[in-house]
């Protein structure tokens, strides 16, 4: 699946090393070693963005490890409902979070990370 070049360039400018991958016909973007907000432990992890609608979510952001966020201010508790999901030969974790349709790739990541600020 192809994404607009300007969106990929934007993603690469924010997350150098971002890489498009695919499994089972579903596209993913691997974002290596992303520094997390919210006083996270660990402070940085690999992230995996699934940028399209599947399983009812317009997009999902998976974490290679399940971090804790000591300074998170968002009032809504995180519901980690993807727990050790095996994608691209690794296990990933994600909390339930809705993004809007029509976002750019970078906007999707920003909106997911907004949940842990």
């Amino acid at each position: 699946m192809e994404f607009p070049k300007d969106q990929i360039d934007e993603l690469l400018s924010i997350y150098p090393g971002a890489k498009q991958m695919e499994e089972g016909g579903t596209p993913y973007f691997l974002l290596p070693g992303v520094a997390l907000p919210g006083g996270a432990t660990p402070a940085s992890v690999d992230l995996l963005l699934r940028p399209l609608l599947l399983d009812g979510y317009d997009s999902r952001l998976y974490y290679a490890q399940k971090p804790t966020f000591a300074q998170r201010k968002h009032p809504e508790a995180l519901n980690w409902n993807a727990d050790g999901v095996h994608i691209l030969s690794r296990n990933w974790f994600a909390f339930s979070w809705r993004t809007l349709p029509g976002l750019t790739l970078a906007q999707m990541v920003a909106m997911h990370l907004g949940a842990v600020r």
Binding site: G24, G25, N81, H86
Partner: protein, 435 residues
């Protein structure tokens, strides 16, 4: 470190058809395989053949002292293929006999030089040499950073799935006299395959028991749960004492299969397969007895990536107001290079969304012993055919559905429409570790 080489049957057949055809003057034919690595860095690493191309006739050099000799252009194309694709390359030729082939002295003098050149061109991937006979194979490979070494195991994946490298001869075939119609090699072939079973409750317990009776003797069991009283309605081999002791379901399966055949080797994993994916990757055939669509999606993705046939088994009961409960189930063979669970519509956005919305609220699925018996017996029959090829059925998708209310097992209504679909979700050339 051990090395296993896996060849999809589609590509194996292309190799055999090409390499056995006569050349205008050479005595043998040569080709090259493109390969990818799986489980890089693990104690057992995999090499997956993802493509094959023959050396064109005009790239052979006449040489009365060699079975076949190819020119620099043929070798340059192999080097270029590795550089441009990032894949490893295997030199392939054939010796015209049956049984285990050996590299000849000239092979061992000349082909390693080609392999060395390939390693100079691209040292990050495996390269090697493969010699085939009519029915067996031998290979040497250089893994990244390693030396040329013998490949420990070579298998052809498909229908049938066979180990074609040298292996210990199986003794004890007399036990299987009543299933001799499967062919004289059937006991050996069945015995040589490692089977993974994901979930050892209602479905998996049946499968383990039947497989051990049929002669399968190398098992990997995945299930982290202990038996509970409510499992006794369907978990084959379980007893009240097991419930009292809180025995793990994998321990019961282990007891059942080793009780049938004390020579069975078992690797019981008391966890989800995702936590020990290397154990899953070591299997030749995997049975998925899992709940849920997303679990199936993950399992099929892993099996396709590591070229493992997956047999999915499941059942459910639907309650419709004013009608008796409707009991149904399915058995699906997902074979690398053939239609997958997405292709046949079993996995789709609707089913995955519905499941995600039920998250945490599913409750226990209804499960009973008799439909599971029908479905798992069908699944075991598929595995025996995969191991022996006794039905000589054309390889490909199997998609059976079971109506438990009337006791009828038929091809799914979509089967005719999807059985020849070309799978775009999992391409053979994408086998191996993600890039």
């Amino acid at each position: 470190m051990k090395i296993q080489l896996k060849i999809p049957r589609q590509i194996y057949q292309r190799i055999m058809a090409d390499i056995a055809s006569p050349h205008p003057f050479a005595y043998e034919r040569i080709g090259f395989c493109r390969v990818r690595i799986g489980d890089r860095g693990a104690s057992t690493q995999f090499i997956f053949v993802t493509d094959y191309w023959p050396v064109p006739d005009d790239q052979y050099i006449p040489d009365d002292f060699a079975g076949a000799r190819i020119n620099n252009q043929a070798i340059r194309s192999a080097l270029q293929a590795s550089l441009s694709s990032g894949d490893g390359i295997f030199h392939v030729h054939m010796h015209d006999h049956s049984g285990v082939p050996d590299f000849g002295s000239m092979d061992l003098e000349e082909i390693p030089r080609i392999v060395e050149s390939l390693t100079f061109a691209n040292a990050d991937v495996p390269h090697g040499m493969l010699v085939l006979s009519h029915d067996m194979a031998t290979a040497h490979a250089v893994m990244p950073g390693g030396e040329l070494q013998i490949v420990d195991r070579i298998s052809v994946v498909g229908q049938p799935t066979l180990v074609i490298s040298d292996q210990p001869l199986f003794s004890g075939g007399e036990r299987f006299n009543r299933q001799s119609f499967l062919g004289p090699l059937a006991p050996q072939r069945i015995n040589s395959l490692r089977v993974g079973i994901i979930g050892l409750s209602g479905g998996g317990s049946h499968i383990a028991q039947q497989l051990s009776h049929a002669g399968f003797a190398d098992f990997v069991f995945f299930d982290g749960q202990s038996i509970d009283i409510y499992n006794l309605n369907r978990l084959v081999g379980a007893t009240e004492q097991d419930v009292a002791r809180g025995l793990l379901k994998i321990a019961i399966a282990d007891r059942v299969v080793t009780g049938v055949n004390s020579a069975c080797k078992t690797l019981p994993v008391a966890a989800r397969w995702q936590e020990h994916p290397e154990a899953l990757r070591s299997c030749d055939i995997v049975f998925g007895c899992v709940d849920g669509f997303d679990e199936r999606r993950q399992l099929e993705a892993a099996c396709r990536r590591y070229l493992i046939p997956l047999i999915d088994v499941g059942m459910d009961v639907v309650q419709i107001a004013g009608q008796p409960p409707r009991l149904f189930g399915q058995v699906i063979l997902s074979l690398p290079g053939h239609p997958c669970l997405h292709c046949i519509g079993f996995l789709n956005d609707r089913t995955l969304t519905a499941e995600a919305q039920r998250y945490g609220d599913a409750g226990p699925n209804p499960q009973v012993v008799w439909p599971t018996g029908v479905l798992t017996s069908t699944a075991v029959g598929i595995a025996v055919d995969l191991a022996t090829g006794w039905t000589k059925t054309a390889p490909g998708l199997i998609y059976k559905c079971y109506d438990g209310n009337i006791g009828e097992l038929t091809d799914h209504s979509r089967y005719e429409h999807v059985k020849h679909k070309v799978c775009h979700h999992y391409k053979l050339q994408d086998a191996g570790d993600p890039n």
